[in-house]
């Protein structure tokens, strides 16, 4: 079962990936191949098998709800593409 062009365009939109029109057929072909390949799993009877939650079957560790970090925003923001007065700038969202 192959994916259609519009399904691939929808997946790209959901994943927030701009894909050029000329690349779409390549993704249609490759993603269809990958999904066909993983569909081998359908043949296995997994009734009653618990889906794995953790490879070592341990529970997630909890920690006390205490502040452990201190404010270093100016250091972290040296990596930001666009900041002003400690704020990250993005294109206007609300008109």
């Amino acid at each position: 079962m192959g994916l259609t062009r519009s399904e691939v365009e929808n997946i790209a939109h959901l994943a927030r990936l701009a894909i050029g029109p000329e690349e779409i057929p390549v993704y249609v072909k490759n993603l269809s191949r990958i999904l066909d390949f993983v569909r081998q799993l359908e043949a296995v009877d997994t009734r009653g098998v618990q889906p794995m939650a953790h490879p070592l079957a341990v529970n997630q560790r909890l920690r006390p709800d205490e502040i452990t970090e201190h404010d270093e925003h100016s250091r972290y923001q040296t990596n930001a593409p666009l900041v002003d007065a400690g704020l990250y700038l993005v294109p206007k969202v609300i008109d």
Binding site: A18, F37, V44, Q50, V58, P81
Partner: protein, 504 residues
């Protein structure tokens, strides 16, 4: 023992000793540095010279940290002179460019992070620095660790020093080629589906993926969080044992890191294999296994029997489905982990975005390479409404069956042994057209990740002049057993000491 002082011998004697520093293992280098046969600074300069000479042909390094290396080397020399310093003081290593290094570019092999200078050190980086290691540079890799050939890097492919027309494997391909060419004595890697073991096999190295949760992942850029684990590529099991010993241990900053004591791996190396029960899974000797590789694996098993181990046939019936299960779980987790790259807080941003959606989609469309986009889209699809049960839940059930297979085997045997990779290194470009062909390079490595188990690959011979790897998989936290089994083999063989011609 002859005592040498840094100035007490002739220039000729010293020159003779320093010219071959790169031929020593990490363990030998550490000993030589303590005896002051040469200084850490001389050693670091020697590595930097070799990188200048050989890396233009190999492309192992994304960043060479020359100034930092010399500064750390001089600090190691001072510590050694004062009778102090960590257990690995002055030893030159490289980090895969997936580990954050404070003040140093950390790209993850991606255009997305080409401009990213990490504001903090990963725990692995911190711990190896505390042990005295000297950081020589950051190694090339498949973008976001997605690949088995190192051909998916924004910085271009890495060439295998055994044959530069061949791939070194991936995703830790830069680390593998750098150690194989003896540009550094060892390097870190990460292994999500075989990314340490497969390149180790293809370049003649010892590569270890510890148990899930054994080594902290704080500061290690995430790919698939239920599978990712940090480890090393080294020349010998002894070197790997020392490095993993220095890296492992509890870290409150990684919620998946296990709070269990770290054994002294190096002290347990000589345990031997007398009486060791080795499981040989028939699923690892299928039609896809190259005949030359198969013959070498069988020779290695015969040697283990000679050393007193018993080999037992075991069956791991769900393991042949590990690749399809992986290509649901790993892309699903990747699509979620890589959602953070949005062009807002760090990394690449497209030029002149016209609105927020345009900012997101063009930043990600331009910042990610083809394989990363394929995986994000695969992951997005399998997690989308209506498909989650059919793909993700089904794959997690398969994963449980695979883990059950191993648990059953480990009731009868101490380790499971087979090939690491179905073939030796392949030619650059040979598998880039079809993703499935590329994915199947990892048929023998992925199961250990899905089940969270430790595994090691060691060199076991050459097929047409190219290295081949033997894989040893153990139960959770049996790293000591893997190191001592690998060490027992390396005491009897010299495959791990072979160096590619041109890099002697």
């Amino acid at each position: 023992m002859r005592k040498l002082s840094p100035s007490g011998d002739s220039a000729v004697e010293r020159g003779f000793r320093t010219i071959n520093m790169h031929t020593k293992t990490l363990t030998e280098l550490s000993r030589s540095l303590r005896r002051r046969e040469f200084s850490a600074e001389e050693l670091a300069r020697h590595c930097l010279d070799r990188i200048a000479r050989h890396d233009p042909q190999l492309n192992c390094f994304i960043t060479v940290t020359e100034a930092l290396a010399l500064e750390q080397a001089r600090a190691a020399d001072r510590a050694i002179a004062a009778g102090e310093g960590g257990p690995l003081a002055g030893v030159p290593i490289a980090h895969k460019d997936i580990f954050c290094t404070r003040g140093v570019k950390t790209s993850c092999g991606s255009r997305m992070l080409d401009n990213f200078v990490a504001p903090y050190d990963a725990t692995v980086v911190e711990r190896l620095a505390a042990a005295g290691c000297v950081l020589i540079g950051k190694t090339n890799m498949d973008e976001f660790a997605m690949g088995s050939s190192n051909e998916n890097s924004w910085y271009g492919p890495v060439h295998n020093p055994w044959n530069r027309d061949c791939v070194p494997g991936g995703s830790s391909g830069g680390s593998a080629a750098a150690v194989a060419a003896r540009l550094v004595s060892a390097a870190t890697g990460t292994d999500t589906g075989g990314s340490i073991r497969q390149p180790a096999a293809l370049t003649g190295l010892t590569g270890v993926k510890p148990t899930y949760g054994r080594v902290s992942r704080y500061g290690m850029i995430a790919f698939a969080s239920s599978l990712d684990q940090a480890g090393v590529l080294a020349q010998t099991a002894e070197d790997a044992a020392r490095l993993v010993g220095a890296m492992a241990g509890f870290d409150p900053r990684d919620s998946t890191c296990v709070d269990a004591p770290v054994p002294d791996y190096a002290a347990q190396l000589e345990e031997g294999v007398n009486g060791l029960r080795i499981g040989v899974p028939r699923e690892y000797f299928d039609a896809r296994l190259d005949a030359g590789v198969r013959a070498l694996i069988e020779e290695a098993l015969a040697l283990y029997r000679k050393l007193g181990a018993h080999t037992v046939d075991v069956s791991l019936p769900a393991v042949p489905l590990s690749v399809p299960a992986y290509y649901v779980v790993a892309p699903a987790e990747a699509s979620s982990n890589l959602a953070r790259y949005d062009g807002v807080r760090y990394g690449y941003r497209c030029s002149d975005p016209k609105d927020l959606l345009d900012l997101y989609t063009r930043t990600r469309g331009e910042g990610f390479g083809a394989e990363v986009k394929r995986r994000i889209m695969t992951g997005t699809y399998v997690l989308s409404a209506g498909y989650f049960d059919a793909y993700y839940l089904k794959a997690q059930q398969l994963r449980q069956l695979i883990a059950d297979d191993f648990a059953r085997a480990f009731r009868e045997v101490d380790v499971v042994v087979g090939p690491t990779s179905p073939t030796p290194a392949f030619t650059l470009g040979a598998k880039t057209d079809d993703p499935i062909t590329m994915y199947l390079n990892d048929i023998y490595t992925i199961a250990a990740n899905l089940a969270g188990l430790p595994a090691i690959s060691i060199p076991c011979g050459l097929v047409k002049g190219l290295p081949t790897g033997l894989q040893i998989i153990g139960p959770p936290f049996a790293e000591s057993r893997l190191f001592s089994a690998a060490h027992a083999y390396q005491r009897e063989t010299d495959w791990h000491l072979r160096r590619p011609s041109g890099y002697e």
